[in-house]
């Protein structure tokens, strides 16, 4: 690999927007999720992740905030996961107020999807220059850290909000 190409890459990296740079990563993650046997969408997976992270139980309203979606979207999302048996919800109460809980099957699906995403990323990253790969991992770790510290909702994952 020549110097020239590396310089090109760096120049390209500096010129590109963050959104453009994140596309490849997002694509690989999505391919990983859809390649897993559970046929979950990335948003469904994210919902399971949030539920698992909050100790397994959450209100639909809180889930909506954590996912950065409106309550009705979160409610629909949860309904789909309940149908699949990955989340359980008590019957008979207002949909937004009720606690939803990740099920044992939901935790297994989450583990399978997480493994599939890691596998997909590993496969792509294996083709990178080792130094670049290390830099990428360091950069992503740093990003995770500041993002967690910011404690902000992650922003909409399914519908881009136009009014920002």
């Amino acid at each position: 690999m020549g110097r020239g190409r590396e310089t090109d890459q760096r120049a390209q990296g500096e010129a590109a927007s963050w959104e453009e740079l994140s596309r490849a990563l997002v694509d690989v993650v999505h391919r990983g999720v859809s390649g897993a046997p559970d046929d979950l969408t990335p948003v469904q997976l994210r919902c399971l992740e949030v539920l698992a992270a909050t100790g397994g139980t959450s209100r639909v309203g809180d889930l909506a905030v954590a996912l950065g979606v409106v309550a009705s979207s979160a409610s629909r999302l949860v309904d789909r996961l309940v149908a699949l048996g990955l989340v359980s919800r008590r019957a008979g109460r207002s949909r937004r107020e009720v606690d939803v809980m990740i099920t044992a099957a939901g935790r297994r699906a989450l583990r399978r999807c997480a493994a599939a995403v890691s596998h997909a990323l590993e496969q792509v990253a294996a083709q990178m220059d080792p130094d670049d790969r290390r830099s990428l991992r360091r950069g992503l770790a740093a990003l995770s850290e500041v993002a967690a510290r910011a404690q902000q909702p992650q922003g909409s994952l399914d519908v881009p909000t136009e009014d920002r």
Binding site: L84, S88, R90, A91, G92, A104
Partner: protein, 414 residues
């Protein structure tokens, strides 16, 4: 009304309940029941509680109070007979008279409260809870009227479930998964008690039932019992289990023996190709005349024998699971469980249940549950409860327990 002709009175109440319920829409049946039986029994309040499918909570789904217009009467064009909001009033394991009535399936009179179990043909549905005025002896009218009509109430509720969602939905504590909807559509009632035979079974968690199904049928001199558990999970597992069950039922009803029942399931599962997997099964047939049974054990299920406080693992040769069998690989074996002892079939989810510290549920724990003096018909509920408690509330895989006993246990009708 005098108490000198209680039977005539009971029959009149039965007749008026039947005609009122048949005149009502299915979804209105619960309210119709209390609206008819409240005044007829001389109670001042009558509640109908229905149990959820896990047998954990009793939900009030209808209430009648003396002097109040009934909900059915309110059913004008704009009121639509809105039913009372459902309440989580009683845990089946709780201290209330209604809970005890449900657990022990006995009539309870506690002060001015009378509780009557509502169960019919293997369906433990719930409890009627009547409040009588302090000046009235409950034994005079409320107790006999409720006793005379409880079976009919059960039949009417079962029938109402077939043509409306209302009764079914309001019974539930949790929203069912799609797989659970499939499974509860094919499952037989969870229990049966007839002359010389008792059967009871439950899948835990009921509202997520996926891979496990059970089946039983009692005919003139034959008891058939089956426990099936599909490999894998989700809808694929549910579909495999349902296909295998349909195949077993088909073959059994066509008069085929246990080995051919298993072979029929092999064929069906194979022909479905991708998308279906193996199904582990215990298939049992007991000749109620001789008390002797045969069984085919295909794959994983655990076969146990319970007698006089002790639980024994029964050693039966294991054949390949359904979907995996080849011609001649299975033979039916004598069932080493004699009359008056209890056959216990457990799906692998029972012993695979792990606590939060990853400690498995053990046979000793199962034995503790079985040793407690309890009605056999209530035992699957107690097993499910023990497994659930062991797991800290959430069972990892379907945990199913089927119990059966035959012989001179209740020969002759009560």
């Amino acid at each position: 009304m005098t108490s000198s002709r209680p039977h005539a009175t009971d029959e009149a109440v039965q007749a008026s309940l039947l005609s009122a319920a048949l005149a009502a829409s299915s979804w209105q049946v619960p309210q119709t029941v209390v609206d008819v039986l409240g005044p007829a029994s001389g109670a001042v309040r009558l509640d109908l509680l229905l149990v959820d499918h896990e047998l954990v909570e009793l939900h009030r789904i209808a209430r009648w109070r003396v002097g109040e217009p009934s909900h059915a009467d309110l059913g004008g064009p704009d009121q639509q007979g809105v039913p009372p909001s459902p309440g989580r009033e009683h845990l089946v394991e709780g201290p209330t008279a209604a809970a005890r009535t449900f657990r022990e399936q006995v009539v309870t009179v506690a002060g001015t409260t009378v509780c009557q179990p509502v169960s019919v043909r293997g369906h433990r549905l719930g409890v009627l809870v009547a409040t009588v005025p302090g000046t009235v002896d409950p034994a005079e009218r409320v107790v006999p009227v409720l006793a005379a009509t409880a079976g009919l109430v059960g039949l009417l509720l079962r029938q109402a479930v077939e043509s409306s969602d209302e009764v079914e939905v309001r019974r539930r504590s949790h929203v069912f998964s799609v797989a659970a909807e499939m499974q509860w559509d094919v499952l037989p009632p969870t229990e049966h008690r007839g002359p010389g035979v008792e059967v009871a079974a439950l899948v835990e968690p009921a509202y997520l039932a996926t891979s496990d199904v059970f089946d039983w049928a009692v005919d003139d001199d034959v008891l058939s019992v089956a426990l099936l558990e599909a490999d894998g999970e989700g809808l694929r597992a549910a579909r495999s289990a349902d296909l295998a069950l349909a195949a077993v039922r088909h073959a059994r009803r066509a008069g085929l023996d246990l080995v051919d029942q298993a072979a029929t399931a092999d064929d069906v599962l194979r022909r479905q190709g991708s998308g279906t997997g193996r199904v582990h099964a215990a298939l049992v047939r007991v000749d109620l005349g001789t008390g002797r049974g045969r069984m085919v054990l295909a794959g994983a299920p655990l076969v146990l024998r319970h007698t006089a406080g002790a639980l024994h693992v029964v050693s039966v040769p294991r054949a390949p699971a359904l979907g995996d069998g080849e011609e001649g690989e299975r033979s039916d074996q004598p069932l080493p469980v004699p009359p008056r002892q209890t056959l216990v079939l457990a799906s692998s989810g029972v012993l695979q249940a792990r606590s939060r510290d990853d400690v498995p549920f053990t046979l000793d724990q199962l034995e503790d549950v079985l040793r407690a003096p309890a009605d056999l018909l209530d035992t699957p509920r107690q097993v499910a409860r023990a497994v659930r408690a062991h797991c800290g509330g959430q069972v990892a895989r379907d945990a199913t327990c089927v119990l059966a006993r035959w012989g001179a246990i209740s020969r002759g009708r009560p």
